[in-house]
């Protein structure tokens, strides 16, 4: 959980920063998308680094989900008879309670998102358009429900990281002091907030016409 999650977070940070290039114009964004595909060349054939990254990410997603499913199944086996009274959460932290269903929403989002932005299958401009055109077309006001789904998914990701980020450190035994855990929890909240804001700003600006 911790190790695969960490790899996915690094990807999210890079992806969020890459998306912000949309504010620097079509050329800059498309050039960046092009660079993703040609990085390393001519020493390496095109897409080598990109394909390796894609394989590592796909592996991380699968292992992350496998770990989550086994934990959920162990939990169900560990409590065969449920409580009659609704278990009242005593710990503070809403994010913790969203991890399982939030994770499902996030993976559904990723599927839609790849069909939208990467393959263009559900994108008005299709797969042959430039990445910039796909992105701008994807968040037009008449497709407000797509943008809304993106926003909901980003909030779920924020909550997922709010718990996941510091929890990974605890699982690796790195929070042996209340002070280090406190600092990590604050850090997790800050990083999650920055990621969510960084991700949602582009779709919102496209929808309200600031980015065309």
């Amino acid at each position: 959980m911790a190790v695969t999650g960490a790899a996915l977070v690094l990807f999210l940070i890079a992806h969020m920063l890459g998306n912000l290039k949309v504010f620097m114009g079509a050329d800059s964004f498309n050039h960046y998308a092009e660079w993703l595909r040609t990085a390393g060349s001519p020493a390496l054939p095109n897409r080598t680094l990109l394909t390796i990254t894609e394989i590592v990410l796909a592996l991380c997603v699968v292992l992350h989900m496998w770990a989550a499913v086994s934990l959920a199944r162990r939990a169900a086996k560990a409590r065969p008879v449920k409580y009659a009274a609704k278990r009242k959460s005593q710990a503070k932290g809403y994010a913790t309670q969203t991890m399982r269903y939030g994770g499902v929403i996030i993976v559904l989002f990723v599927v839609w998102h790849l069909l939208d932005m990467t393959f263009g299958a559900v994108n008005p401009k299709g797969g042959d358009a430039t990445p910039y055109d796909r992105m701008v077309a994807g968040f037009q006001p008449d497709r407000w429900w797509v943008t809304a789904f993106y926003l909901v998914a980003m909030v779920m990701i924020g909550l997922h990281l709010r718990h996941g980020l510091w929890s990974a450190f605890q699982s690796l035994g790195l929070t042996r002091h209340p002070r280090s855990r406190g600092a990590l929890q604050t850090g997790a909240a800050a990083v999650s907030a920055v990621l969510v804001l960084g991700f949602v700003v582009a779709p919102i600006c496209i929808m309200i016409g600031v980015v065309k």
Partner: protein
């Protein structure tokens, strides 16, 4: 005050069990929760009914026997309090109170609210000890212990093995209990020789008992009557990873 109690009744481990509703009248706010159950049981005995079985021993919050889930919270909503130290002044006239046993595959119900917590004993047997030559007590100053370590070890050592952490955990994990024992012994000089083998053996026994896996929800430390710190779980993970990587 008068209360309505909904209590889990289960006549032995093979019985299916069910919730049964009782009324208790004239409950004094000065009674402890267990004394309130004593009043109910006296009446049930007079009426020729089977009294509600529940575990208890010290009734002063130190033995860890008296666990039950009260209105969905292990040991009730009062923080840092065992069921025996919970007083009826925290309830009000007319309240409906649901009382259930710890729910865990590793803690089978013996009868009504009594569960068998031998799984904890087996975790202790797996490594919750230090091996020293017995004999007369050594000179106390011969092994200096840094104050910070002594404090942290003592905080962890206050665990009374009640099992509330397991009962409250959405995953049914026994990590807080196991971590408390590993931290308590692992921070002291006497615990060093067996530190890694202890962490490994206790964690493996915990998993073998059928407890769930920890996802750091923090419910355990929030209900723990002794306030065992969450950091002990990080200490357990650190010791376990160190042992497992060898």
């Amino acid at each position: 005050m008068n209360l309505t109690l909904k209590i889990w009744r289960q006549n032995g481990s093979s019985d299916k069990g069910r919730m049964v509703t009782y009324r208790v009248e004239d409950v004094s706010p000065d009674m402890s929760f267990l004394e309130m159950l004593d009043v109910l049981n006296e009446r049930l005995i007079l009426e020729g009914d089977d009294p509600v079985a529940f575990d208890h021993d010290c009734r002063e919050g130190i033995c860890g026997m008296c666990g039950m889930v009260i209105n969905g919270v292990a040991h009730g909503e009062q923080k840092l309090t065992t069921t025996c130290q919970l007083h009826m002044r925290h309830f009000k006239d007319g309240d409906v109170v649901t009382i259930e046993p710890w729910r865990s595959a590793a803690f089978p119900v013996v009868k009504d609210l009594v569960v068998n917590r031998s799984a904890f004993d087996r975790i202790i047997q797996a490594g919750g000890f230090i091996s020293v030559p017995a004999g007369s007590a050594p000179e106390a100053h011969s092994v200096p212990v840094p104050k910070a370590d002594a404090d942290a070890a003592f905080d962890a050592a206050t665990c009374i093995g009640c099992g509330a952490c397991v009962a409250a955990c959405p995953n049914g994990s026994a990590s807080l209990f196991t971590a408390a024992k590993i931290t308590h012994l692992g921070l002291l000089p006497q615990g060093q020789p067996e530190r890694e083998s202890r962490a490994r053996a206790m964690v493996e026994q915990m998993d073998a008992e059928g407890f769930g896996g920890c996802t750091n929800t923090g419910e355990c430390t929030a209900v723990c009557p002794k306030g065992i710190p969450f950091d002990t779980i990080a200490q357990m993970n650190a010791d376990y990873l160190k042992a497992a990587s060898k």
